[in-house]
Amino acid sequence: MDISRRTFMEKTTTFCLKTGLSVIFLSTTSAQTFATSATAKEKKGGGVGLLFEPAYLKLHRTGELGERAETLWAAMENCELCPRSCGVNRLEGEEGFCHAPGTALIVSAFHPHFGEERPLVGDHGSGTVFLTHCNLRCVFCQNWEISHLGRGAEKSIDELAAIMLKLQDAGCHNINIVTPTHYSAHILKAVDRAAGAGLRLPIVYNTSGWERQEILEALDGVVDIYLPDFKYWESDMSAQYSSDAATYPEITRQAILEMHRQVGVAKPAYNGYMQRGVMIRHLVMPNDISGSEKIMEWIADNLPKDTYINIMAQYSPLFKAFEYPNLARRITREEYVRVVEKARDLGLENLDIQGYWWLR
């Protein structure tokens, strides 16, 4: 289209006028509220910054969040909240593969966490809620006390909502729900109630990655930050080391693509805090059990090159790992470096790596 100088000036002037008026009006109405509350938070030092609105607020206002929560809750009658689809009636107190006791919600800990990824931690921590039990039940689980033994205290939905608000009051930058898969119904209910009481932090869905598409669709517009693991490339490996979860690789690939579709690439906001996006975690395991290089290749082929990837090196044989010779040792520096170099060679540029070569 051929734009004349006059047309350009007209359009520019119009745009500036509109923007100026918006600023004038907004600053005297909701912008002021945001500013005030944000200023309060900024003064306190926490939160996510000015003008951020978590995705779930819209759904909360329309009532759709509550409806989705009820739908997921009802799904527990013939439980298919996770790919195991064991079909137990959790509403009647039955226990499925995850061993979550019916509809009871067990929380093992909640606090501002300063050990998560840097953009989640910020100055005042990631408001982390650890949920117990797990549908994967890996033999090398680092948190076996809570994932396998289910140690924790029962909380109601209201209590979970109160926990979220408490973490917000503590200045946390997000609400980070760990191992949420089998409690997705509870989480949606709690978020709905907390949103009604003033929750304004993004939800971090800290998952194993093994998620059903139907559940992710219910989370669309609720979760702002997805933090999935991508544990295995080979289904033989996932079957052997994660309690016959042979479909893990295939389902997780689809899940990550869906997550990306929903929230896009994770990039910190102007204040350095993460507000939205997918942050993939990958634990490098000995003997290439995790198929790390293949995973990097897949990410490079299917997701943007600036996809956030945390390549983790902290594997240590724990729990039942010593029963499996291929798992019964630590990874070597070479194994880790190989994965990092592969990721770099593939052009992946947003890597969070643990540089154990930081000292001479």
Binding site: A321, G355, W358
Partner: protein
């Protein structure tokens, strides 16, 4: 027979203690023991032996072939020991427990009970049979029981020494059990040979003995025992490539190899992986404190230095010397036997000096001062390790630190499961550190909380900027800046996090003579693995001297009500006295060893000597009492006197031990050791002398020697059972040494009251007339 049979009794005592030690050590490899699991195993052994002594042993009275039955029981005992060891080796597989996986209280209780059952019951019965047989040809009644007690105790002393210095270092468990069986079979044969009587039963036992000797000889000399050991090890360590398996005096070390990495398991727990350490943990453990100092030069490491920690320390250019204390020399010998470039660099560096000595002893006797003291013991899970988390130890460490020196310790921590027990454990140690040091900084972690304690403020102020500056000054960093996995540990948010975490935690501190941190460590372990029992531990924590006094008072009140009845309870009174003395004896033994370690340090040989001293005292006490019984008329008076003596000893013991602890300096070591040996001997003497007297008194109203000996031996063991299971885990940590001894004293007062009031004219007259 008069010479041979006492030898047989000595061998019986020898065998009992050797079997107990072998089985305890094997079980601890499976259960990766803390003080509670040790207590459970010992308690199970004692209660089963008590059962055997009474229920199986009383058959000795009616048995027509007492000697042959004794031999048969001995043979069965030896066979069951070998089977028990085998069962322990396959226990993990049977229970579906993985290597390195923790096991809770209840599985430990029932599995150790079932495995120990045949061995302990049979051995308990052997004592009663010995008493009956000995009385047949010695002509004595109660005196024969006393003498058997003496011989058995002597045997146990020999057993402890031989086990510690010969069997464990040089033989595997099957070989040791086989040699034990051979010894017992030879004794059986020797007992049978002089006899001219050739009954069918005797022939059978003779045949079994001879066949047994041949088979056992083949088992040992034909390396079958070694083969069984190797095979059973491979079952126990399924899917592992075992490159070395050895027992030291301190524990068991098993090394597996996996693609160039060596995994060192100490008593079944993965302790070290070379050459790849737990890098995040090691880096944080070493670099945060050393970068908090301007120029660290002299370092002391107490345990856990090899395999990563030393390597990281050596990266700091100002380091001039590292003194590394590792108690068990076998660990470092094996690290050298299976070398890796990492460990070779560490241990061959001229700045590193290794000492095989208890860490506390080294600190106490060292003239050097240090810039940093690293304590590589992560958990106060038993009395031995608790000594590194007490106020006294922290004070000792502070004295050996320079003005701005830092004490670095790791303690159990978690970020994903924050239970009350974990809060109390950390609160207790934190408060203890705060009592001694001006500044304490905690870096919380998943699995381990890192504690930095110093009188210099730097550890509180250290942040990423300061760390960055020092890295540049030391030309240490290969990359610009520090990585996130270190930086996040320095996040200022952790300090307020930890303060909030400690809210509601105990305000008590951990001392040498009140190992409260050990109690919280065990409580935490229990909360993870057996949460249904948490309530019991919470109730235990509330116990204090008022509770004990109230309990004693109520017991006496109930007893007074019984007194209104005309029925006599003399035999029960005697049993009760022996139970309480057995309890007291176990507590004394435990307390003295515990106090010795706190005062002096963990010196394996001296622990053995202390135990031997106690047992020697018990043997002497029994002998003296046996001799005295022949001369004096009023055994009851003497018995009451021993009750008074034990009671007074209970109240006096803490006074003496505290005086030793407070008045200690390096020059007084020899005197202290001798004095503690004497105390141990006296405590054994007092507890040992009661046994023959009790038998003498009991037999006044009951002619059945086997039943009497069995019952009273069982009573002694039951008392020991209570002492074993409650002493270390509950009484010492919760009440402290003084409270524990006072509780024992109160308990002895109740038994004193009972025995005095139950002594009636008829008993007194009967005692005088027979005397």
């Amino acid at each position: 027979m008069k010479i041979l049979f006492p030898i047989a009794v000595v061998v019986m005592g020898f065998s009992g203690l050797v079997a107990q030690i072998l089985l305890l050590r094997e079980l601890l490899i499976v259960f990766s023991g803390n003080e509670l699991s040790i207590g459970i195993i010992l308690a199970n052994a004692l209660i089963l032996e008590a059962f055997g002594s009474f229920y199986l042993g009383k058959r000795a009275e009616t048995s027509k072939h007492k000697l042959e039955s004794f031999m048969l029981l001995t043979i069965l005992f030896c066979v069951s020991l070998v089977i028990a060891i085998l069962l322990i080796r396959i226990l993990r597989n049977m229970m579906g427990i993985s290597i390195g996986e923790s096991i809770g209280f209840i599985p430990i209780l029932y599995s150790s009970f079932l495995i120990l059952m045949p061995v302990s019951i049979l051995h308990g019965a052997l004592f009663t049979y010995c008493c009956r047989i000995y009385s047949m040809f010695s002509g004595g009644g109660a005196s024969s029981v006393g003498k058997v007690y003496v011989y058995e105790t002597l045997g146990a002393i020999f057993g402890g020494v031989v086990c510690a210095y010969l069997l464990i270092p040089y033989f595997d468990s099957f070989q040791a059990a086989s040699w034990l069986a051979l010894l017992n079979l030879i004794i059986c044969l020797a007992l049978l040979m002089p006899s001219r009587e050739i009954g069918r039963y005797r022939q059978l036992v003779l045949a079994i003995s001879i066949i047994g000797i041949v088979c056992t000889g083949y088992f040992i000399l034909g390396s079958q025992a070694a083969k069984l050991h190797d095979q059973s090890i491979s079952w126990q360590w399924k899917n592992q490539d075992i490159v070395h398996y050895q027992n030291s005096q301190y524990g068991n070390i098993c090394i597996t190899e996996n693609q160039g990495q060596y995994i060192f398991f100490v008593d079944g727990v993965p302790n070290l992986i070379t050459p790849v350490p737990d890098i995040p943990l090691v880096e944080e453990f070493v670099h945060i404190p050393l970068l908090a100092q301007s120029q660290p030069m002299t370092i002391l490491i107490l345990s856990g230095g090899a395999g990563g920690v030393i390597n990281e320390i050596l990266k700091h250019p100002s380091i001039e010397s590292i003194t590394y204390a590792e108690l068990d020399p076998l660990i470092l010998d094996l690290i050298k036997t299976f070398p890796t470039p990492l460990t070779e660099t560490e241990l061959n560096d001229r700045r590193v000096k290794v000492k095989h000595v208890d860490g506390r002893l080294l600190l106490r006797t060292s003239a050097n001062k240090y810039d940093a003291v690293f304590v590589g013991i992560q958990e106060p899970s038993n009395l031995q390790t608790n000594r590194f988390f007490t106020k006294e130890f922290f004070s000792l460490a502070k004295k050996q630190l320079h003005q701005d020196g830092i004490l670095v310790i790791g303690l159990t921590g978690s970020l994903d499961y924050l239970n009350e027990e974990l809060v109390h454990l950390n609160s207790c140690v934190f408060n203890t550190l705060k009592r001694v040091f001006s500044h304490v900084r905690v870096v919380p972690g998943d699995g381990t909380n890192l504690y930095l304690a110093s009188d210099a403020e730097e550890i509180v102020r250290i942040d990423r900027e300061r760390i960055g500056e020092r890295l540049i000054q030391r030309n240490l960093a290969a990359e610009r800046g520090i990585p996130w996995h270190i930086e996040k540990k320095l996040h200022p948010g952790w300090q307020s996090w930890f303060s909030r975490f400690l809210e509601g935690g105990t305000e008590e501190i951990n001392t040498d003579f009140r190992p409260l941190a050990m109690f919280y460590s065990i409580s935490h372990w229990n909360a993870l693995l057996a949460p249904s029992l948490r309530g019991i531990f919470r109730q235990f924590e509330r116990i204090d001297l008022r509770t004990i006094t109230l309990f004693a008072g109520i017991s006496l009140l109930i007893y007074c009500l019984l007194l209104t009845q005309k029925r006599r309870y003399v035999p029960q009174a005697i049993s009760y006295s022996i139970i309480t003395t057995g309890f007291a004896g176990m507590i004394f033994d435990l307390t003295i060893i515990f106090a010795f370690q706190a005062v002096y340090g963990y010196v394996f040989s001296w622990i053995g000597i202390l135990v031997a001293s106690f047992m020697a005292g018990a043997a002497c006490g029994a002998l003296v009492a046996t001799m005295a019984m022949a001369r004096i008329k009023n055994c009851l008076k003497l018995f009451v006197l021993t009750e008074v003596a034990v009671t007074c000893f209970s109240f006096g013991l803490p006074v003496v031990l505290f005086a030793l602890h407070n008045g200690l300096d390096a020059s007084g070591f020899v005197f202290i050791r001798m004095l503690i040996l004497l105390i141990s001997f006296v405590s054994g003497l007092l507890t040992g002398c009661q046994f023959p007297l009790a038998n003498e008194l009991y037999l006044k109203s009951n002619d059945n020697l086997s039943r009497t000996a069995g019952l009273l031996y069982a009573s002694d063991l039951v008392g020991g059972w209570f002492g074993g299971i409650l002493g270390a885990v509950l009484l010492l940590p919760v009440l402290g040494l003084t409270g524990t001894c006072i509780s024992v004293g109160l308990l002895k007062i109740t038994s004193l009251v009972v025995i005095v009031t139950q002594s009636n004219r008829r008993l007194l007259r009967a005692s005088e007339s027979r005397g």
